[in-house]
Symmetry: C2
Amino acid sequence: MYDVIIIGKGPAGLSSSIYTGRGNLKTLIIGKDSEALEKAYISNFCCAEEQTGKELIHKGIKQALDVGVDIVEEEVLDIKKESEFVITTDTKEYKSKSVIIATGKPKIKIDIPGINKYEAKGVHYCVACDGFFYKDTKVGVIGYNDYAYHEILELESITKDITLFTNGKDIEMKKENLDELKSKDININKKRIGVLEGNDYLEKISFEDGSEEEIDGIFVAYGTASSVDFARKLGITIDNQNILVDDNQQTNIPGIFAAGDCTGGITQVATAVGQGSTAGIRTKTYLQKLKK
Amino acid sequence: MYDVIIIGKGPAGLSSSIYTGRGNLKTLIIGKDSEALEKAYISNFCCAEEQTGKELIHKGIKQALDVGVDIVEEEVLDIKKESEFVITTDTKEYKSKSVIIATGKPKIKIDIPGINKYEAKGVHYCVACDGFFYKDTKVGVIGYNDYAYHEILELESITKDITLFTNGKDIEMKKENLDELKSKDININKKRIGVLEGNDYLEKISFEDGSEEEIDGIFVAYGTASSVDFARKLGITIDNQNILVDDNQQTNIPGIFAAGDCTGGITQVATAVGQGSTAGIRTKTYLQKLKK
């Protein structure tokens, strides 16, 4: 059991971890490298030497390790709040008393005509949140990797008629996961999607090759789960794709903090590091109060 | 005329200036060295090498100079808002379209028994704000340097019976300023103050040597003018000695931003640098809107 799990290995998450680690909180960072930042050359970060993003992150990682922080390069697939927080990655499951989300700015992951029109009217982004609307109906998951696999597993208890739509992508999933989907008769459709159609609600998917498929609902789990995807699962208030936080970087859910680009504002290393330090310190305050 | 004047040469002010300088805003930093930070060893500032405060500030100054920022080592004595902002230092006067206050955490400057009891009831901190209550009365200024001199000049148009109380300190004032005070018959009292006394309102000062002096009001201008002193002069909302700012580091007065320890929160280099970058970027946005 960790005191705090930090999701994201960029400047915000690393800065948080330096404070929680120094504050004797058992801390785990789960994150993958950020290619965009690593390629950047950072000269506007005050009071640090000019350096590449790669050097900058390397320094942060060294500082985190020096204060006893654990770091794993895994992909987070799911977060649940039970008596503690349970975080499922592509490799294993971790538990913690608090969470800091520092996953950077969510990218627009898929752009299919009609996807916005039917949002919440057949198009959804979180099985745990909206899956129960689709009991025993015909549903699809748009995705191609272990994140999609994880959403399909969640859907299975709701309906048996599930199709994985890869939208033209090859499947990039652990072999045992793909084998499991096949053994469970999950349909796999690799055609490129042309447009989502219906009247008030989604009714069918039209593919670029002219074929169609009727569908009651689809769940988007395309690429990597973003901060907004996690936030949805946890009931965190989102404003215009940003996680809403107060001056202490705390979300509306006790024990969950967020810092850096995923909270909106200016997307700068300086602000990420600053907000990260606040999140780290305030997480410690939160856990101290919890003990009493 | 500057686009922006930044008061304070610590991590917050320097970080702001890097952004305003890169944004082609004509930028001036007015500040003195911070001895407290310079002596510190900073190891919790993420993604920067471990370094002394002195090295850290030196790097920030180099970054600021590299983007064309002017830096002067002067002491700010007064800020006024006319058609633009007018900032008076111990050396000269500067004008700007916007101001970023980044002066660090105000220290408790003087601790005299009774000083809190009579606050706003005979004890004041801003002649420009409260001087008019004391027309033709007997007033004192507690101080010893050019900041006190400046407050006395402001008082002169209100009353002629003015005493400078140094509270045991030697006078550290430019010779011409001291000469001017003497030529104007300003009384100088160098005794150590024991206690401020009165009933509902301040009535007299008792000195440690047992002597007393009746007084109608005193203005504290002891040491260096702090962020809170500037804020009072400008009508900025203060909360518990901190300057109140919004998510954009903007105060309630258009064109005035604040960043770093003077805005409260955790007093860390990381947050100062982060807030400074936001203040710099938002000042640019403010000036762009002003042009339209």
